[in-house]
Symmetry: C3
Subunit: 267 residues, 3 copies
Amino acid sequence: MSTIWHNLSKIRSNAPLVHNITNYVVMNSTANALLAVGASPVMAHALEEVEIMVCYAGALVLNIGTLSPAWVEAMLLAGKAAKARSIPIVLDPVGAGATPLRTDTALRLLGEVSPSVVRGNASEIRALGGSLAATKGVDSTDSVDSAIEAAKALVERYSLVVSISGPTDVVVSKTHVARIHNGSPMMTRVTGMGCAASALTGAYLAVEPSPFEAATQAMVVTGIAGELAAAQSTGPGTFQVQFLDALANISQGNIESLGRWEIVANT
Amino acid sequence: MSTIWHNLSKIRSNAPLVHNITNYVVMNSTANALLAVGASPVMAHALEEVEIMVCYAGALVLNIGTLSPAWVEAMLLAGKAAKARSIPIVLDPVGAGATPLRTDTALRLLGEVSPSVVRGNASEIRALGGSLAATKGVDSTDSVDSAIEAAKALVERYSLVVSISGPTDVVVSKTHVARIHNGSPMMTRVTGMGCAASALTGAYLAVEPSPFEAATQAMVVTGIAGELAAAQSTGPGTFQVQFLDALANISQGNIESLGRWEIVANT
Amino acid sequence: MSTIWHNLSKIRSNAPLVHNITNYVVMNSTANALLAVGASPVMAHALEEVEIMVCYAGALVLNIGTLSPAWVEAMLLAGKAAKARSIPIVLDPVGAGATPLRTDTALRLLGEVSPSVVRGNASEIRALGGSLAATKGVDSTDSVDSAIEAAKALVERYSLVVSISGPTDVVVSKTHVARIHNGSPMMTRVTGMGCAASALTGAYLAVEPSPFEAATQAMVVTGIAGELAAAQSTGPGTFQVQFLDALANISQGNIESLGRWEIVANT
């Protein structure tokens, strides 16, 4: 993980294109988070162009936060084009579990476009992997633990990495589990922080071949930026502004002094 | 109205879900205003899910700022589902009067989904209620007075509360009229302040059974947050940021010292 | 060009309505940029209302950043209605050259709605005018020079003004070429600065009959606001906020002391 800074520098020098098909609420803040970290965002959702656009990209980010049927179809088209060219995909299953449209779309994307990373909160991950875990007789009264069990089931079933955001972020691969202790409670007080984390995971995937490393490093950087921003903020308005400044200004020293994570074997 | 602070505390502790079907321009700022005040925003507009999503909500906010036919249908579906479950609805008739699509949609929503509160500016309220008022022989050369007459006509016709934003906000119920003197001219210099007021009215409706109280209290809190923000701002950019901080930080003392409103009988 | 301040004052006093059919990413920041400079933004894209809405407007801004077929049709409808009433149009061909949908839509709008100004970056302008320039035997290894040649070809073919944003902005009319040296590298680190420049060009067109003057003046004001904002910023987050404050607060003295441009004959 000494490569967090190395890969951040690579994002800043290469400015990889990250293609987002994302929700209306966070389009602006996601584009700005990607620009702040040094990547090049593009938003495009028309069926007529997503397959072409994604070919220029270093990563594709699919976010189901404000779905409608045409957008689902665009995600599938873009995702299949990305898959065919081995362009890594992040899926953010916003609101999975809340409605069948969201749960079904997320599961369909999991099955058809083979994301490298699924990044969601504990409830979304449970909604997608919980029944798989349950069939193995796994259950838990603790919500984070049950999300980790659901993540492990998704990892096994779909050969991907699951990144669960929360007070402690947890990233699960077939072989390892990372726990990241960075972040700030202020991150729950503005919209789109999870979506930004997914987009930054896309930026890392564009420069880092290991999805587990990319997902973990992105969560560390997002969390450190959140801490730096919270220290300069008097509320959610200033926090949002300072978060972009922090992403742009984060230094090797910040990462070395503030980064707090551990990685253990996935047993 | 000593319940403004009590209800704000309730929003902060209960974090009621507010379902918004709103315009593209303000989705982000609306979500952030709701989060800042302590509520939980969700945006969902697909015909396939709005009826399910709204059932989780403490209130539904319908905002016609960037309409298209599929969104109108979604608003009707969500609104009818909310009505059937007695989930209170706020209608923000953005731009009513400017085009038949907007006026007709607002009138159709008024007729079919029974909003608890309609919150708009004087021109929008006149566009919706003016002809009803006119048929009663009411007319006025003063634009605010004619909006209040239009509001009274809407209140009578549709059994709801009308909240008119302006230099002085006016809230009209069948029995009472509130005039709120809070706010700042800076609120007209950024987009989405009216939409935020509508969303915050939704948050108040989720914890306060009286639509008149909810609408009035939301306008007081919005106005005080505007005043606090203006005092910290050097222009509309900083104002927008400080407004979110103010919503998050507003105290009982702020409400007691700054709140300025009076309520009289609707005669 | 001593009229930059005069026209800015006119925008601030007249508050011309600028109708935008623009992309989802920048709707909020564009509306706020227009409000900050003193104009009145409206966003409307429904086929059912764009022809009516545009008739109230002092200018129409078409931006193809997140296209889909219904939006293309709306742009054509609104554009034709504007053209029929001599309401000036700005076209921002976001991403032209990246996909056929974007290039074809931009060329179709050029041909059918007769924009007064096309404002894009060098790559977009080359994508639209490069082949016209090439048929004249024009070619260049320098990307800015080749964009200017493409711009000249577009000016000749479509009788409009082309505004190219970059480290130096270049505005080309049939008779003149302006080079504007204002701006800040920070403007490339937040999304929507080009889109804001297009919208501000629309605001200037609403008060200034010469498209060349309007386009040049808008770029000077945008660039100066960028410089003022950069001086107050510690990163892209604060820059974005300060940019709106600067647009709202820019003074005659700022324009006189900071404005740097020259105009030569188009030879």
